[in-house]
């Protein structure tokens, strides 16, 4: 062993001094792979002809057509209604669950813990078809209500995990101090605990909204014929045939996502610092 160190190549003291060009090149190519298809999509949304493959000139006509498509607007409204309602319910339930799991030691906590994780790893298609079977058996008409119920069911766990991470890093002696000073449990929660975990709760809500807004598989099974969310609408548009309108819609969604991520990453950074 000692001999190999003397005959070995360059001695690496500290990292980054010897740039590893192979690694840099590889990383660059992976980034190209991640972005090129999306950029191609965005590029052809500005195409003047109906082709999504051959560039004929710049135009905004597909964005105009998108705005005039009432079914897209309706789907967007449904998605927003579902997303906001499901996020509100899931955030409240998920935060309560996180409080129970971090602030209380109780019998059956391991079971509660595993349930939360089981709900995050269960394949979406299994969740979707089991809910379909359940709603049909219960006689509930498939529509916006069943979509909201399903979205709450699959986002609660994610909110719980995010809020719990925040609570775990928090000193519970502050809460004890508030109670020693005479605050009742509700006052303690509203004036001490909640403000401290708020960045975590907001991050959890943002995650829940994104998951809900983006969900296709579960929604596909529980939506019925009448109500279509944006992903369902996009799916049927793709099935119907590629068109620059889908590219225009993709571009709008992409830009919105980027704005949300930038806002969200600030939120996460703040929740780490606070």
């Amino acid at each position: 062993m000692a001999a190999s160190s003397t005959k070995g190549g360059p001695v690496y003291k500290g990292l980054g001094k010897v740039p590893d060009w192979g690694l840099v090149l590889f990383a660059g190519l992976v980034y190209v792979f991640l972005y090129a298809p999306i950029l191609v999509l965005v590029f052809f949304s500005f195409n003047s002809s109906k082709s999504t493959q051959v560039w004929t000139g710049f135009s905004l006509r597909w964005y105009g057509e998108l705005l005039r498509d009432q079914s897209v607007i309706d789907a967007l409204k449904t998605s927003l209604t579902v997303g906001i309602t499901a996020t509100a319910i899931a955030t409240v339930i998920g935060t309560l669950t996180a409080l129970a799991l971090t602030r209380h030691a109780f019998r059956g906590r391991t079971i509660a813990d595993s349930t939360i994780y089981a709900a995050t790893v269960m394949p979406e298609i299994v969740v979707g078809v089991s809910l379909l079977v359940f709603f049909v058996a219960a006689g509930l008409a498939l529509g916006i209500t069943t979509i909201i119920i399903a979205h709450v069911a699959f986002t609660i766990s994610f909110v719980t995990i995010v809020v719990r991470a925040r609570l775990a890093g928090m000193d519970s002696s502050i809460e004890e101090a508030a109670q020693d000073l005479g605050a009742n449990p509700l006052q303690t929660f509203l004036r001490v605990t909640l403000p401290l975990i708020l960045p975590g709760v907001m991050a959890g809500a943002l995650l829940a909204f994104t998951l809900s807004f983006d969900d296709f598989v579960i929604t596909f099974f529980v939506s019925g014929v009448g109500s279509s969310t944006l992903p369902l609408k996009i799916y049927s548009m793709i099935k119907f045939g590629v068109s620059p309108v889908i590219n225009a819609l993709s571009t709008v969604i992409l830009v919105t996502t980027m704005i949300l991520i930038l806002g969200g990453s600030r939120l996460f950074v703040r929740s780490e610092r606070a």
Partner: protein, 288 residues
Amino acid sequence: MGRSKGRGWSLGLAGLLGPVAFWLGLFFFVPLLMILAYSFGTSGVYGGITLGFNPTNYLKVFDPLYLEIVVRTLFIATLNTLLCLALGYPLAYFIALKGGSWKHALILLVMIPFWTSLLLRAYAWVVILGGNGLANRTLQFLGITDEPLTLIFTPQAVTMGMVYSYLPFMILPLYAALEKFDVRLKEAAQDLGASRWQTFWRVTFPLSMPGVIAGSILVFIPSAGEFVIPNLLGGSRTVMMGNLIQQQFLNARDWAFGSALSVMLAVLLLGAILFYIRRVGAEKLEGV
């Protein structure tokens, strides 16, 4: 609230856990138990179902026609996981250990595709691999082929779409694990005479194992249950288990068989997770 550190149940605790027990109990567990019950039932000709203890739905999976789909599903999901690991590990390593002050910007660049709709990312490949798409025109331009090749509706197209869709799911946990890595350990190994290769395989890689496990689970599970990507990029020739389940519930209306397939998929995937964590976890412990 911060007070009750006892082992017992209190009214407050019941209040905190009540809503989640209701919602996940009624809308997660009961439905799962229902498909378990349905999987042993018998489908009627017009879509109804008679409960009972009928194992034929499970035996049906061993029909070569269906077995081929199960094997293909596991093969594509495994291949996808390995490809994501091969592409994602070097990138995560680069960002975490060589990223320097660019680290946050570089990881943000991975998060943007991560948060972009899977559907849109599959659509991008429908366009690129389609008949007269960018891929074909590039191949023709380079003189590799004269006539457009059939690129879409192949197992390769499905794998391509999957790697593209799930790569960020692999990179993010790998980055989280590698970011915590103490560089001094690497220096220590090299000071003790280990080559770069030895240092990587005996120090860095074993310590990043939690990220490898998490990333592999995050990629393997959804890709084995995937039905959008094989639907859009695989067509009728690259059917996966997800497509088969969807067909049973929506077209064939054989809910009993569809339920049996769903139960098998869930058991298979959860079993794979447990096996993987045990196996890799044990080796990791031995390595330390």
